[in-house]
């Protein structure tokens, strides 16, 4: 069999190409309100199923439990708890980052789901599972209606 290891792609006859389409994505019906609230009011909003009481974050317009539509919106506050975290030392190309970045799954009390986001104003060794963290927003003028309108979550009481 002729298969063997080739560590240098330049050493064999090859060609390069791209798959050309670009995409324009909507944020959806739930996403429209979610990001508008973040941008204009600095609030994190979920949706609540009036039948089963589940509060979804990120918000959805349907309930996966009872399979019905949802139209009630609730403010879940800015504070959550670290459920799991990682400290990333490399960028997507595998190059070292200047400063490690901490990412966490943040769950909000009484809410089904949560947000993944950066942690800030804290050193990696001080982070622990269960710690309370609070969203820190960009200045209103800089907010674009994106998840990055939240700069990071910082330790809180």
């Amino acid at each position: 069999m002729s298969l063997d290891k080739i560590s240098n792609p330049e050493a064999i006859k090859h060609w390069t190409d791209v798959i050309p389409p670009e995409y324009v994505y909507t944020v959806g019906v739930a996403g429209e309100r979610f990001f508008r609230e973040i941008k204009e009011n600095g609030r994190i909003m979920g949706t609540k199923c009036s039948k089963c009481g589940y509060i979804y974050l990120p918000p959805r317009i349907y309930c996966e439990k009872c399979f019905d539509y949802i139209d009630e919106w609730v403010d879940v506050g800015l504070k959550g708890r670290v459920y799991a975290y990682t400290v990333t030392y490399l960028d997507v190309d595998g190059s070292p980052l200047d400063k490690p970045i901490i990412f966490a799954v943040i769950k909000f009390d009484g809410v089904y789901g949560g947000l993944i986001h950066r942690l800030g104003e804290v050193e990696p060794e001080k982070v622990c599972i269960g710690m309370v963290v609070e969203a820190v927003f960009k200045d209103k003028a800089e907010r674009k209606g994106s998840i990055n309108d939240i700069k990071y979550f910082k330790p809180s009481d």
């Binding site: 298969l3 799991a84 490399l90 599972i129």
Partner: protein, 391 residues
Amino acid sequence: MMHFPIKRRVAVVGAGMTLYRRRLQETTKEMVFHAVKMALDSAGLTIKDVDAVVGGSAPDLFDGIHMKGENVITEAGGALKPYLRNFTGGTTGVSQQINAWSIVASGLADVCISVSWEKMSPCHPHPQYAFWTIFDRIIERPLGVNLVWIFALEMNRYMHKHNIKKEDIALVAVKNKANALDHPCAQLPAKITVEDVLNSPVMCWPVQRLDISPPSDGASAVIFASEDVAKKITDTPVWVIGVGRCEDTTYWMNRDLYFPYYAYYAGQQAYSMAHIHNPRKEIDVFEIYDPFDYKELHHMEGLRLCGKGEAPKLTREGVTQRDGDMPVNPSGGLMGVGNPIAAGGGMKVCEIFWQLRKEAGKRQVKKDATVGLAHAWGELMQGSSVLIMKV
């Protein structure tokens, strides 16, 4: 759960695989041809004997060939025959065997070849860029999320919940890479120590370089046949006695992360069909999906081979070694043999076939194995598929 009577017994009668490497010169089509040809030769069949073909490969973005399932129909031996592609991410390599099994069990075909492949190397600068695009476009991708994070978060939760040390998880990497030293197709066989793992570069804590499997090019194939045909092909058909599949919610922030329910339910389905009550006692050899070392432990617990949080202890005691009471990944797994996504799972099915036929050479487990289980995990990190076989 519904139980339908299965129309026909089905056996695996042949298997083959290419070398697994970071980059192969062979094109996708050439790799697929190699694997199919080897499987046919191992069973003494020609392509004319094949009634239907299943192709399995994960995202088109790796090979960079849109509709890549259809791209290989000729090389897979599927021209002018029923052909079906399975496209379920990491579970593909085992899920597609369930497709092939059902095609034969239903009577649609007597002989069905099932080929798995992935050619990840065309994706530049790194296949990581393709993984990147699977995340939610509005909630996750703007943060710069990459694939390793998710595993780091899950591994962190698993370690926290059960108070598991990295030293114990590293033992899986040590075992699997050592097992791969005896696999002629392996990409990353190595004799390493726990210290080597703990001293390897930190990517996303707690994931370090040696906790993770590589991107790979490779293909594997197995052949399914109905009972009467299988008995004519070989004296040692390997019977499929149980299959199971399950997916959890796509919203990974809604999963508890420390216990893989998808593996649990897929396992329960397959155990139920195979009339297995105690998998640890009634199954002899396991190939469990191990793209990361902790994932072998995670899935052992999900598949009920031990209690929650107990898999590290079994590993430490040597139970999962090739000469242990419950060998896990005697092939070397994805950590050692390589991880061409769909073909990673396909390799595991090949290994169970070879183990049960006593054809695994230096990799042969010590105990007299008559029942084996292959498991794969993936989709959007939320699914599992299980195949149980018996000689």
